[in-house]
Amino acid sequence: MSRQSATTRRGVLRAVGGGAATGLAAGSVRGGTKNVGVGGDRRDGDTVVVNVGFDPATDIGGPDVVRRVATRLVRQFSFDALTVELPRDAVTALRQRPEIRYVETNGTMRTYQQSTVQTIPYGITRIGAQLAREAGITGDGVDVAVIDSGIDSDHPDLQANLGEGRAFVNCRGRPRLCRVAGNRNACKADWDDDDNHGTHCAGVVAAVDNDEGVVGVAPEATLHAVKVIYCAGVGLVSDIAAGIEYVADQGWPVASLSFGSQRPTNLIRDACAYAAEEGVLLVAAAGNGRGRPNTVGFPATLPSVLSVSAVDRSGGFAPFSSTGPRIDITAPGANIRSTVPGGYRQYSGTSMACPHVAGAAALLVSTGLSPAEARERLVGTADDLGLEQIRQGAGLLNVAAALDLDDNL
């Protein structure tokens, strides 16, 4: 199950807040013998995830009793039940409460043991993507091309959203180099990610909204891996141009380009012009020019491309980010947690800011806007952080405002 009403989902998200992910203890909950008063704020580390059913007749009593003892709310159902993490020794007391119908362990305990619990990366809340999620706007089915080092083909937090992949350089296609560079991906697909970078960016765009890992800006968008970067994080201009052309020919509305160089090339200029003409919204990382003047890289300097600088968790300008008159918008890029083959990592760079904007564009396109209209709205509704235009562009990405969700709070 995963479909919940918007109001239910909002309740869950509020309650979960910014809770940190912790490893979950698993196993039987029957052993609890100590009688612990329900309502304490204890957190001794020995916790279990349980499904709790409460009596609707007692009205507000049941859920409140559970919430008070829970260390974390995992899921709220439309019917009278919650999945929560709570101290193991609180189970017995909870079972004895009149408001509680049952306390059960999860049937899929193994899955819980093996996975990390889903946490909401700060970038998602910072840009208002949480509000989109609560309103049920998920970018459902919108095609987003991640023109990068590929996307891990069997990552549990991405797999459900993977569309077609296409390789212009094959996974581990440079065997000698890839023995010493990149990751140890088994390359089940030729567009598989041998570098981590593409999978990380893909997770920012559209990691699945499930019980593990992270969630992306547009958690139901379709991710297309267009592999143009090889295992060392480097791509040849000819491969990149072919990738951009391919995306345009597929008619996909949004492409995320988390790469660049200080040197413009005519081939990529032409490829971007071709894609823009075909209606693709190209979003690119402005580059990591360390705050120095006029360091926006290519292709972010092209007018046809939406150029993204980076800010940190508190909205301060990221010291690594490029600056210059060609910055259109800024987004979170410092210490971003997202997917990599085999797990999750935190990376920094304008590479990480770029897919926040691409995901946001997918959300807008899912509501019926054209890619060009989406671009205009994203720029027009960005939050002024009070930084100079050469740093923040129009300001910090605010997808909730772009979706007109602000007034509904």
């Binding site: 990149i240 790469f259 580059g287 590479s351």
Partner: protein
């Protein structure tokens, strides 16, 4: 302290470059990189007629911060290939692309006409 050595190996229709950076100090050094580029190779005309080839031209780089740690006595080698070189006498420079450390080396080489 970082030292760099550069070797060039002309082949039939390409030239291989290898830049080796060694930490000759007593403590480990962590190098920071602003993007996926770790090194640069630049070839200039030996007669002083300017730059004829640059490895990063025609390449783009993932815009993600990175780092590499070199323990005391450890070295790291970066490779680059120049395809279809024009015969001539050249000077090659290889340099580390770290944001917080410098290491470069220079060498002469020639490409014979085949």
């Amino acid at each position: 302290m970082l030292t760099a050595t550069l070797t060039t190996t002309p082949r039939d229709d390409y030239v291989e470059f290898e830049l080796t950076v060694e930490n000759q100090g007593d403590e480990s050094v962590t190098l920071s990189f602003r993007d996926a580029r770790r090194a640069e190779f630049v070839v200039s005309d030996a007669a002083g007629d300017g730059e004829v080839w640059r490895w990063s031209d025609g390449r783009m780089f993932a815009q993600m911060l990175g780092s590499e740690t070199l323990d005391a006595g450890e070295s790291m080698t970066f490779e680059g290939v120049w395809d279809d070189p024009v015969p001539g006498e050249y000077v090659a420079i290889g340099e580390l692309a770290a944001a917080d450390a410098d290491a470069d080396a220079e060498t002469h080489f020639s490409v014979e006409s085949v």
